[in-house]
Structure formats: structure tokens, C-alpha cells
Symmetry: C2
Subunit: 255 residues, 2 copies
Amino acid sequence: MSEQPKYQQLAAALRREIDNGVYPPGARLPSESELSARFGASRNTVRNGLKLLVSEGLVTSSQGLGYDVRSHEVFELNASRFENLTFPQNGDSYTTDVTNAGRRPHQTLRVEMRPAPPDIAERLKVEAGSKTVLRFCHRYVDDVPWSTQATYYPGWLMERAPRLTEPGDIAEGTTRYLTGAGVEQVGYFDEIATRMPTPEEARLLEIGAGVPVLLWTRTGHSRDEPVRCTVTTLRGDLNRMNYEIGDLAALGGAE
Amino acid sequence: MSEQPKYQQLAAALRREIDNGVYPPGARLPSESELSARFGASRNTVRNGLKLLVSEGLVTSSQGLGYDVRSHEVFELNASRFENLTFPQNGDSYTTDVTNAGRRPHQTLRVEMRPAPPDIAERLKVEAGSKTVLRFCHRYVDDVPWSTQATYYPGWLMERAPRLTEPGDIAEGTTRYLTGAGVEQVGYFDEIATRMPTPEEARLLEIGAGVPVLLWTRTGHSRDEPVRCTVTTLRGDLNRMNYEIGDLAALGGAE
DNA sequence: TAGTGGTCTAGACCACCTC
DNA sequence: AGGTGGTCTAGACCACTAC
């Protein structure tokens, strides 16, 4: 008779109504008991259907309030430009980009000495477990948690760039500081992956159910060897990355 | 007393055991009734906890069998090289890449005339709803659904490159065909985003719960204007993208 | 205080897989 | 046949939000 389970029918019906604008972004869905009456299903079955929509990232739920249709706003992140070097300003490219977009950036920084995790060690071409410096940033835009960024520097860099270990910002930006110390990054290797957040990531980024993270791993190289590895964890619902490749003069956007 | 809900405690405990290798990738978890006994919880509560792990992409469930720890295998996709032009082979870069990796590629192609969707129209700099050619690929690796790829060409291209509308492969590759027709792509603009799959995408890619998709939108430009827009939808659990930027001679990998 | 979602239980029946 | 997960129900109590 029914072909599809009732909770999926319910989810499909609501999904269709959301798509058609019956419930536009930001709108509140009917309550569980109303839906229960409308679809002739028990409350648990209704909850099952709603949980589907939540896990698709279409709606959110808040205790005591109800279910809201999620509204999206994405921040565009240009990853193909070289960091700092092309910018006259002080500070890192994150602060620059966010400020340029008319938003208010905010970040907390933590510096630690850490043994190199295996994946990082491989990228930095050092022994797993060998000494590295970890600079960890937790970043906000207009007080919304936006991304975390963990940059690992190999232990041998410390002699040439001791300020990396100092807790606190490096005013001119770390890339520029390294360049000044004779360690210039002439190439990047970027890797991009996606997955659901770990509970820890969900906590730090205040991610609700149904929102994946974008993992951006950038390994910076001098002319001779890798000098740093940065893992940025971005909220998937708030961020989009882009790369410009080759000649884009016709776009007019490449200044 | 308990601080955390029982189903989250259960999920946390199993997550820890999975991380510690008690249940390695591919292993089967205890059945719902066993977990119910172990944690002193009703079956529904156990299911709630397991659903959490499923939605995190950590485990999968199959009716009649049980819960398995997911094992990951990722395909690396180099997006910063120019397509076709740098390869002496026939065919597209997908076929080339997959074959090089020692895997067996397979794809189905569909060609349609379609009014331009708004987001595509904007990127192609044509009117929304104007005529475009859509070439849609459904791609498999070793018979596992891997990605879908939708390429839109603006209507004005048809006069110069009529073979685009023919249903069926273009042996030398579309990029090379276009170059031969006097439409050379000299630059790409790539955008990368992530989200949970729509039900349609989940069906095509046979994606289980807890697996996001990676959306890769590439707009190819001639010296004067955009000539095509390709939207690739990749299974997030099977794919990772990378970009090489600047000079990576030290890597040794840049041939 | 009333309404909302969040957690939990106990039990029923079904669909799928293996033996 | 017996075990597994999938669906569904009915009802209980709690936590949060609004008024």
C-alpha cells in the first residue's frame, strides 16, 4: 500500500513545502503535535521524519521553541592567492578577508609544543612524534564560531624563527615573519576533504546536526622542503572555497 | 546524576572503543539487544545512540546483518592541472586519473538541452533560462558510484561546436574538441563547497546516512568569456581534492 | 502556566539475512 | 527458524521558552 515508510513520506512532504516556499528560510514549522494530527502519525514517527530533515541540514530544532528552516549565508574564501605577500596590510589573510567583507573578525590563539601526529609528520617530512610547534587559532566572525586552524611547524625551524614559539600574535603575520627569517614559502600543496564533525569539532564550532565540515590542509614549502602544515576546519554551512587557475583576465575580478 | 543523556553516553563509549581499535574498520558491533543488556537501556535508546554514530559517518547499518565500522579509502583528485591538454591520451581526465590509479572506470552519459538554472547562468554570463547544453555524467569506479558531473555550455557555443549536442562521447575529450573549434580555455574558476546530499543525490551516489558530498563547480574561461560550467558532486567519504600552487619543485611530485 | 522539544520505556509487527 | 535491524505506537517525565 504505502511503499514508503510514513516518516519518510512526512519528511518528503515537508521538504517539498520548504522548497516551494511554503516555509521560507527562517520560518517556523508546525509543532510536533500539529504534524502528528496532520499526518495521522504518532509523535515518535513525526520526530523520526523531522530528524531526517535535521540531518539533511534543512532545518534546525531548539528545545522549547520549535523547528526552523535553516537560512544560509556563505563566506567566500579565496585560497589561490599567496598569503600576506600580496597584501600591504599587517596581520594574516583571515583578518584581511573578513574585514574586507565588512564583517568583524575575532580570534583566540594558543601555542603549544607537540609531538608530530603521523599525518602531519608525513607532510612535513619529519619523524612522527618529533618535536613541532602547534599554533592553534579559534576564529569567529561577528561572534559566530567560523573555523579552527592548527598550524604545525617542524622543530628545526625554531632556531631560525624562535618567535614562533612565543604565545601571542606575530604582528606582521607568520608568513612574512618567516620570509624575513630567510624561510620563504614559494609553493603550497592544498588538500580538501569533507566529513561529519567529531563531537569535539561540533562543540568548538557550535555545529548542529546535519552540517559537515570542510577540511583544508595546506602544506607550505620553501625552495627546499616543507616548512609548515596548516589544517583548517571550516563549518560547511558557512564557507565556500575557491581557486583561480590560469588566466582569468576576462573575469575582471583578478586584480 | 548522569549529566549526559544515556544514548549519548552509549555513543561516546562505542566511539572510544572504535578509536581504540576494539572495533577496527570493517568489524561488526554487538547487536542492539546485546548493547541493550550491556548498557541497561531500552532498545530504542540503544538505537538512538547508534543512529548518532551512523550520522557521524562512523558506522553503517544493514538490515538483517548488523552495524559495521566504516572503512575509508579515498581517491585523490588533482584539480590544479589543466585538463586533457597536458595529457597525451584520448579521453577525459577522469578516465585517465582512475586508470592511472589501477582502478576500473565506467560512466554513463546523457545529453540534454536545458534552460540555464540561475546559478549556472550567472557563472556563464548568460540570461537565466536561456538555452544551454547539459552533458551529464554518472561515474563509477570498480562499479561503485563515485560522482556525478553536470557540464553546462552556453547556447552561443553550438554554432562553433555543434558536436556538443550529440549524445555520446567526444572521443578526443570535450576540452580538446573545443580547442580545435577555436574555443580555448585559458583559465578556470573553481568553487568548492560541502553539504549533506539531497535525497536524489543520495540515491544516485548510493550514499548512506552520515556522508556529506563535496561540490566542485568549475567555470572554464576563454580569453574573452566563460565557455562552460561543470558541477561535480563527489561522495565525501571517497574523495579528496588537491591543488598545487606556485613552485613545488621540492616536492618532487610535480612532473 | 502552558506549550514546545528532548529523553526513555515496553512492546508490537515487519523485512531482511543466514542457516 | 531464529536473529538482525526497520518501523510504529502509546505513554511517561523532563527541560526549556514564552507569557
